[in-house]
């Protein structure tokens, strides 16, 4: 079984996070513990979905051959795949926290990064589900412009990242 190793980047994040945590605990223990409790509540709500996605990745990698992923999301039809990915990202409302491992696993087995970026960017920036709420709060014109522009820019960002790679 292939297992990940602790890379230097993650290790340095651990060091930074732990030093910062000790610093703020020393500064005001109660305040820091209080906000940790709040974060625990917020992140705890995601655990079910997160576990579901992580084990769904295993199913996808086992049953969908890498060639199929490469053919569907790879370099060959990157334009169509990216537009579909951007649409999929716009209509789903899952936290990015949960989406990163899923997208990462698809890229690892050969999906192009262009649809991956398009999906990740519209996932957070465009909200079809929250559109009515946004319209009510800020007006139709604002909501249309903000979501429309976000969709277009998500594709632009994805395209540039594909070129840079």
């Amino acid at each position: 079984m292939r297992l990940p190793k602790m890379d230097p980047f993650t290790l340095s994040l651990w060091v930074i996070a732990l030093i910062a945590l000790l610093f703020f605990l020393a500064k005001d223990r109660k305040r820091t513990l209080g906000s940790m409790q709040m974060t625990k509540g917020m992140m705890g709500g995601l655990l079910g979905e997160l576990t579901g996605i992580l084990f769904l990745i295993g199913l996808i990698l086992t049953f969908v051959p890498p060639e199929t992923i490469k053919a569907g999301l790879g370099q060959s039809n990157v334009v169509l795949a990216s537009i579909l990915a951007a649409v999929a990202g716009s209509v789903t409302l899952i936290p990015a926290f949960v989406a990163f491992p899923l997208v990462g696993s698809l890229v690892n087995v050969g999906a192009s990064i262009v649809p991956a970026v398009a999906f990740l960017t519209t996932l957070t920036m465009v909200g079809l589900v929250t559109f009515p709420l946004e319209k009510r709060e800020f007006g139709q014109k604002f909501a249309l412009y903000r979501n429309g522009l976000s969709f277009v820019f998500a594709l632009v960002i994805a395209w540039i990242m594909g070129v840079l790679k």
Binding site: M1, L3, L18, L50, G58, A96, F100, K141, I157
Partner: protein, 239 residues
């Protein structure tokens, strides 16, 4: 109890069912799938404590109030940067940003700054950048962050050119003042902080907070006010 769990964890229940069926029909494939998942489970376990600690520190120590009071109609570049910082150092989904932005608009913040807060709140979250770097690589994360930041500022400029204040629904004062404690259900992220801090006033049902004591006495009102300040989605209103 079980029905409630299934309803709250649809995806997990579905995936678990598939695994059970597989274990019976194709046990070899089920084990292979678990092994394939373990790599990502391990990666998540490596990065999750970091995300947790960073989010806690940001929630507890970033002076959001000071940032918000720096806004104003004519605060120019400084206002843009404050908006960017406010969005980047906030937790919660995009709809949690709506009430905050309404408040900023009422305080005279420009439309460009509202776009900046909403978009950065949605996309650029500091602890999430750590998570993204773990699963897609630091270079991927940094490039996407830089491109997104530039895009957000361009979008803010375009939206502010096209949309004027008169296109927005009036930022009215809440009509029913003095009504006590209310929760904007669509904003509630279901974190449960309020129910933990003031179990006399708030309770959790179906993953959302609910008010059980709508007309509090002054002392309870004070408690509710203190709790409202701790709500990450700013979904609680006390008046």
């Amino acid at each position: 109890m079980l029905a409630g769990f299934l309803r709250k964890n649809k995806l997990l229940s579905l995936v678990a069912t598939i695994y059970i069926v597989l274990l019976i029909t194709l046990p070899g494939k089920a084990i292979e799938a678990v092994q394939n998942s373990m790599y990502y489970v391990m990666e998540m376990l490596m990065i999750m404590p970091v995300v947790f600690i960073l989010t806690s520190i940001i929630e507890g120590w970033i002076p959001k109030k000071a940032i918000i009071s720096g806004f104003g109609e004519g605060s120019g570049i400084k206002g843009n940067i404050l908006a960017f910082l406010l969005g980047s150092f906030s937790a919660g989904p995009i709809y949690a940003a709506f009430p905050v932005c309404k408040m900023l608009l009422a305080k005279g913040a420009g439309i460009a700054n509202v776009v900046i807060v909403l978009s950065t709140w949605a996309v650029v979250k500091v602890p999430m950048l750590a998570n993204e770097a773990k699963f897609l690589g630091p270079k991927f994360m940094a490039t996407r962050w830089a491109l997104t930041t530039v895009s957000i500022f361009i979008m803010a400029y375009i939206v502010a050119k096209q949309v004027k204040r008169k296109d927005m629904p009036m930022v009215e004062e809440t009509a029913e003042t003095g009504k006590g404690v209310r929760i904007a259900a669509e904003c509630c992220a279901g974190c449960g902080v309020c129910a933990k801090l003031s179990p006399m006033i708030f309770t959790m049902s179906d993953g959302k907070a609910r008010v059980i004591l709508e007309t509090p006495n002054p002392k309870q009102k004070q408690k509710a006010q203190a709790t409202a300040e701790r709500c990450p989605a700013k979904a609680i209103q006390v008046d």
